[in-house]
Structures are given as structure tokens and as C-alpha cells.
């Protein structure tokens, strides 16, 4: 984690790099806005949501890797970052386990 760039206040990729990441975030946001007008749900239900989430996920990855310096961080930081997603996955999976099985079994109509 030798941050020799940090001391100059520029960070690892410097201001041009940060502006680049910021541009990606802005473009992603605009893209999300326009994509919501396309009727992707006619391809398969939920396709619009899936695309929006994919864009959001990409943006988030950029933020984590570069703004939050995970890219240059030691393994323990990588482990913590991945673990937090694992936790999020647990929350989603176990919640969805309820929603996807509602109305099955004895109470089914």
C-alpha cells in the first residue's frame, strides 16, 4: 500500500484519471436514463431492470477500484471488498427465497 502518489495529493491515476472515471459515471447515468425509454421488456420480462442494474454495477466497480483505491490495495482489502458483496448476496438470496416461493405448497391456489 505504498502510497507515494498519495502524498502529492494526486492519487494513483492523477486528476486526468479521476476525471476519466467521473466521465464514465456521468455517461453511465445518461445511458441509464435513455435506456429506460426502450422497451426491452418485450425481449424478456425484467430486461430493462437488468440493463439498468448492469450499468449501475459497472459504475460502482469503477468507484470502488479507482476512487476508493481498492485496485492498488493489499489482498486483505480485496478480501473485505469481496466479502461485503458476498454479504449483500446473502441478503438478496435469502429474501428472494421468500418472494419466489410465495404461494407454493399448502397455500397455493
Amino acid at each position: 500500500m505504498s502510497d507515494k502518489h498519495m502524498e502529492t495529493g494526486e492519487g494513483h491515476i492523477g486528476y486526468p484519471g479521476y476525471i476519466g472515471v467521473f466521465t464514465i459515471l456521468v455517461v453511465g447515468t445518461i445511458f441509464t436514463y435513455f435506456s429506460s425509454f426502450w422497451d426491452l421488456d418485450s425481449i424478456f420480462p425484467g430486461a430493462n431492470t437488468l440493463l439498468a442494474l448492469a450499468i449501475a454495477f459497472t459504475k460502482m466497480t469503477f468507484v470502488m477500484l479507482f476512487f476508493m483505491h481498492v485496485y492498488w490495495s493489499p489482498r486483505l482489502i480485496w478480501l473485505s471488498a469481496v466479502a461485503s458483496f458476498f454479504w449483500l448476496a446473502i441478503m438478496f438470496a435469502y429474501t428472494m427465497q421468500d418472494y419466489f416461493t410465495r404461494g407454493l405448497g399448502v397455500f397455493s391456489v
Partner: protein, 558 residues
């Protein structure tokens, strides 16, 4: 306790500079970076919250003395039990052991000068104060009546009490917990003294580490949930209200994703204290060190997979209920591992019944009952009968009060001589420990029976046939109240006229007993080098065993 041993006798009589004498101005406290002073300020604040929560509890018990709704109106009663829960859970139980005992002792126990992030530590105290002040303000304005669980759609659509203000208080307070957890994890990773390997850490530190994991992973979820609730209440975005496209059960999923693990934030540090007490007051190396250490981590991890057991009858799917019920049984295993190891530690130990040990033994009995009745409630069939009855109330009070509060009191009594340099009255200590135990059981055991017979929780009135057991309960609460007020008096008195405790009043090998009482600001005069295993009572620990034996001979048996 006052026996002078070899370690104590080497210390000159001249009072040394310690963390309490290092500056007396208000500023030297409010701007301190010393983890010990921060812990003392936490101690004072959480004690006040505990008393406030206790007053609400007395109001509940007095109302339930008679079957009619007489002392309080139903609407007031709703607010009273809600505020009892909110104050006790968010402002007492969650910070209690980590913020007071953990803050004070974790750095000392690993041989560090302070926590890794002292300013962040002070910040967490201020956040706690701000969150607390906001909540108290909202309570004084009129309070909330949703129950501490803030269930939707009542909290979002119908309740016109101060849901938002209290929610904001809890939201802010959550950051205090996250920062404390973060600080502990970084400290354990980076600040251990030379020779203090992971498997030489006291089990209290392992427990704090596991608790910190839960704090960091769980607390953001409650913060987000409260935020979503606020967004729906103010802006009307449909998240939980079905009328505008939301789902009320989603709130329960998100809420319990945090709040079940929060139960472990509350009980794991208590288990850490008990591991210390059981081993040290049996003068025996703890049985199955690794099992206890890893069972803390296992509880922290598996505790995240069981939240649906709070939702068996609330519309969750039967399949999800089965999975959560099964996992609930699984998570009981690591707690059972601890119980068995503590019992095995006691076996053939040289047990002394000092006040902290009385609390530890009380914990084992009460937590056993609390834990086993949890299995009743986790069983998907039986729980239909027991949901929302006093059986649930009794169960979680056995875990929270019989477990955590008892462990906290045991820890306070155990480390009091280290924190203040003074010894309290052992006589009154024992009396109060026994009053707490008797009062507690008298209060909550009848609630198992009355709950099983069908008395629902959260009502100000009840059918007349439940009155006898409720009178028992209220009588017990008054005994418990006396038992809890007593420590305030004799611990307070010990500050004025308590005998000097000496550095190692209990004759123990842990690092915290190898520095002076109270410790100097930098904890140790020079960085200790650890060459012994945890809970080592043999010669390897470098302790004077003869002194220990002498002490044992004079220790009184209750």
C-alpha cells in the same frame, strides 16, 4: 483481595500518574483521545440510558399489576413499551460491553497504547451523544408508538407519533457502532504487542472482534432501512406500502437482516466476558480455547442466515420458513459449544466465588434457559402458538438481561479495580448479585407460563386469570430494580472510601493485570512482550503462584 503479592509489593507507594490524574479540566475529557477516558464517558452515558429504560420498564410492570387499563391509557402504554425497547436496545445493550469494557480493555489486553484510530473513537462517542440527544428530544416531544421494530405499514402510513425523529436518532447512532467496530478490527489486526499472536488473544478480544464484524456488516442495513422508511413517509415513494407498489414484508426482511445479528452484537461481548470470568475465577486454563474463539466467529457468520425466524407468521413463504427454521437450529450449535467448554473449564477448577464469578455462574443458568427457549420459538410449528405472546418476551429477556446485562455487570465488577484503582464492598457486591438473580427470575419466569397460556404481548390489559402471575412478575421487577440500583451506590462509594485495589487484586496472568491500577495514559510503561499463552496459570506466566494460593485460602465462600 487486599493481599499483597509479589507483583504488587514491587510497586512504590508514591501514587503514579494515571489516566485519571492526567488533566482535570473539562476540555481534557471532552477532547481526549485516550480510549480509557472515552470508555468512562460511555459508561456514564449508557448508565443514564439504562436508568431511563428502567423507568419505562417500571411503568410497564405497574400497569400490568391489574388486568384493567388503569394506570396508563392504551396509547401511552404503546409509547412506553416502545421507548423502553428503543432506549434499552439501541442506547444501552448494543454499546454496553463494546463501548465501555471493550474500549477500556481491548487495547490493554493486547498490549497496545491505544486503539488504532483514537480520533475516530472520540468521534463515535460524539455521534452516540448526538443520536442519543435527538432520540431523547423526540421522546420528550411525544415519542413513538410503533414498537421498537417500526413495522410497516403502521410506521409509514398510520402512526402520527415521532417516527422520523426517533428513526433519525437511531440512524445517527448506528454510525457510532460502525466506527467502534471498525476501530476494534483495525486495532486487533495492527496493534498487538510483540508475542501476542492470534491464539494468545484473550477470548474477550475474540468476542469483540466477532462482534465488530457483525456491527460493520449489519448496521448499514438498518441505516438504509430507516432511510427507506423515511423516504416513503415523506416523499411517498412506494417501497413498503402495497397501495403504492411496495411490500410491507420487505421491511421485515431488511429490518431483521440487521436486528437478528444485532442480538449477537448484544450477546457475543457478554460471552467474551464470561469466558474471562469462568477461566480466571476457576484458576484453570480455559477448556477448548480454539473452539470458543471460532464459535464466536461462527455465531457472527451464521447469525446472518436466520432472520426469517421472526417472520414465520407474517406472510413469508412456507419454504422460506422451513429454511430459516433449520438454520436457526444450526446457529444454536456454536452457543452450545461455548456452554460445554465453560462447564468443562469449571470441572476440577479451583473456583472462588467472588462477585464477578457469581454473575458468571448466574449467566450460565440464565443464558441456558434463554437459549433453549429460543429453540422452541425457532421450531416452525410450535412458534405459531407462541408468536407475540409473553413467552417471546420472557425468552429474549433471559438472553438480553439474563445474558448480556448480567455479563456486563460481572465485567464491570471484575474490571472495576483496574478502571478505578479501588475495591468495592465485596459483601454488598454479593448481596446485589444475588438480588439481581432472584429478582430477574421472579420477573421473567412467570412470563414463560403466562405466555404459553396465551397472554399476548404489547397490550395494557389482559384477562383476569393471568393476574397472579403478573403480580409475581411485578414483584420480581421491584427486587430486580433494588439489585440494579445497589451497584450504583457501593461502586460510587468505593470511589470515595474504597480500599486501594493494587495492580492485580485477583492474581491473574492477563496483560491488563500487569499494568498499574488505574493504568497510565499510555497503558504500559514499556511495551510488553508476551511469552505466555492465554489463561496460563503455570509458572510460564511469570506469576507468583504462592501469592495466588494464599489468596485462595482467605477467599470467603458464600
Amino acid at each position: 483481595m487486599q493481599n499483597v503479592d509479589a507483583i504488587n509489593s514491587g510497586i512504590p507507594a508514591i501514587p503514579k500518574d494515571n489516566y485519571l490524574t492526567n488533566g482535570f479540566s473539562l476540555k481534557s475529557w471532552l477532547l481526549t483521545k485516550d480510549h480509557k477516558r472515552i470508555a468512562i464517558m460511555y459508561l456514564i452515558t449508557i448508565s443514564m440510558f439504562f436508568m431511563a429504560g428502567g423507568l419505562y420498564a417500571s411503568a410497564i410492570r405497574l400497569e400490568l399489576l391489574t388486568p384493567e387499563t388503569d394506570l396508563l391509557t392504551s396509547a401511552t402504554y404503546n409509547k412506553v413499551f416502545t421507548q423502553h425497547g428503543i432506549l434499552m436496545i439501541f442506547f444501552f445493550l448494543i454499546p454496553s460491553i463494546p463501548a465501555v469494557l471493550g474500549n477500556f480493555l481491548l487495547p490493554i489486553m493486547i498490549g497496545a497504547k491505544d486503539l488504532a484510530l483514537p480520533r475516530i473513537n472520540l468521534l463515535s462517542l460524539y455521534i452516540y451523544w448526538i443520536g442519543g440527544a435527538l432520540t431523547v428530544f423526540a421522546l420528550l416531544q411525544g415519542g413513538v408508538d410503533t414498537g421498537w421494530t417500526f413495522y410497516t405499514p403502521y410506521s409509514t402510513t398510520f402512526s402520527n407519533s415521532y417516527v422520523m425523529a426517533v428513526g433519525l436518532g437511531i440512524f445517527i447512532n448506528g454510525f457510532s457502532s460502525i466506527l467502534t467496530g471498525l476501530n476494534f478490527i483495525v486495532t486487533v489486526h495492527t496493534m498487538r504487542a510483540p508475542g501476542m499472536t492470534w491464539f494468545r488473544l484473550p477470548l474477550f478480544v475474540w468476542a469483540q472482534y466477532a462482534t465488530s464484524l457483525v456491527m460493520i456488516l449489519g448496521t448499514p442495513v438498518i441505516a438504509i432501512t430507516v432511510l427507506l422508511l423515511a423516504i416513503e413517509r415523506t416523499v411517498g415513494v412506494g417501497i413498503f406500502d402495497p397501495a403504492i407498489g411496495g411490500d410491507p414484508i420487505l421491511f421485515q426482511h431488511l429490518f431483521w437482516f440487521y436486528s437478528h445479528p444485532a442480538v449477537y452484537i448484544m450477546i457475543l461481548p457478554g460471552m467474551g466476558v464470561i469466558s474471562e470470568l469462568i477461566s480466571n475465577f476457576s484458576r484453570k486454563k480455559i477448556f477448548g480455547y480454539e473452539f470458543i474463539a471460532f464459535s464466536s466467529i461462527a455465531i457472527a457468520v451464521f447469525g446472518f442466515l436466520v432472520w426469517g425466524h421472526h417472520m414465520f407468521v407474517s406472510g413469508q413463504s412456507i419454504y422460506a420458513g422451513m429454511v430459516f427454521s433449520f438454520l436457526t437450529m444450526v446457529v444454536a450449535v456454536p452457543s452450545a459449544i461455548k456452554m460445554f467448554n465453560w462447564t468443562a473449564t469449571l470441572y476440577k477448577g479451583s473456583i472462588s466465588y467472588d462477585t464477578p464469578m457469581l454473575y458468571a455462574i448466574g449467566f450460565m443458568g440464565l443464558f441456558l434457559i434463554g437459549g433453549l427457549t429460543g429453540l422452541f420459538l425457532g421450531a416452525i410449528g410450535l412458534t405459531v402458538h407462541l408468536t407475540d405472546t409473553y413467552f417471546v418476551v420472557a425468552h429474549f429477556h433471559y438472553v438480553m438481561v439474563g445474558g448480556q446485562v448480567i455479563a456486563y455487570l460481572g465485567g464491570i465488577h471484575y474490571w472495576w479495580p483496574k478502571m478505578t484503582g479501588r475495591m468495592y464492598s465485596e459483601f454488598w457486591g454479593k448481596i446485589s448479585a444475588m438480588l439481581v438473580f432472584i429478582g430477574f427470575n421472579l420477573t421473567f419466569f412467570p412470563q414463560f407460563i403466562v405466555g404459553y397460556q396465551g397472554m399476548p404481548r404489547r397490550y395494557a390489559s389482559y384477562p383476569a386469570e393471568f393476574q397472579v402471575l403478573n403480580i409475581f412478575s411485578t414483584a420480581g421487577a421491584s427486587v430486580l430494580g433494588v439489585g440494579l440500583v445497589m451497584p450504583v451506590i457501593y461502586l460510587g462509594a468505593s470511589l470515595i472510601n474504597g480500599k486501594p485495589a493494587g495492580d492485580n487484586p485477583w492474581m491473574l496472568p492477563g496483560l491488563e493485570w500487569r499494568t498499574s491500577s488505574p493504568p497510565p495514559t499510555e497503558n504500559f510503561e514499556k511495551t510488553p512482550v508476551v511469552t505466555w499463552e492465554a489463561y496460563e496459570f503455570g509458572e510460564e506466566s511469570g506469576l507468583d503462584l504462592d501469592g495466588a494460593r494464599r489468596r485462595d485460602q482467605v477467599s470467603t465462600v458464600v
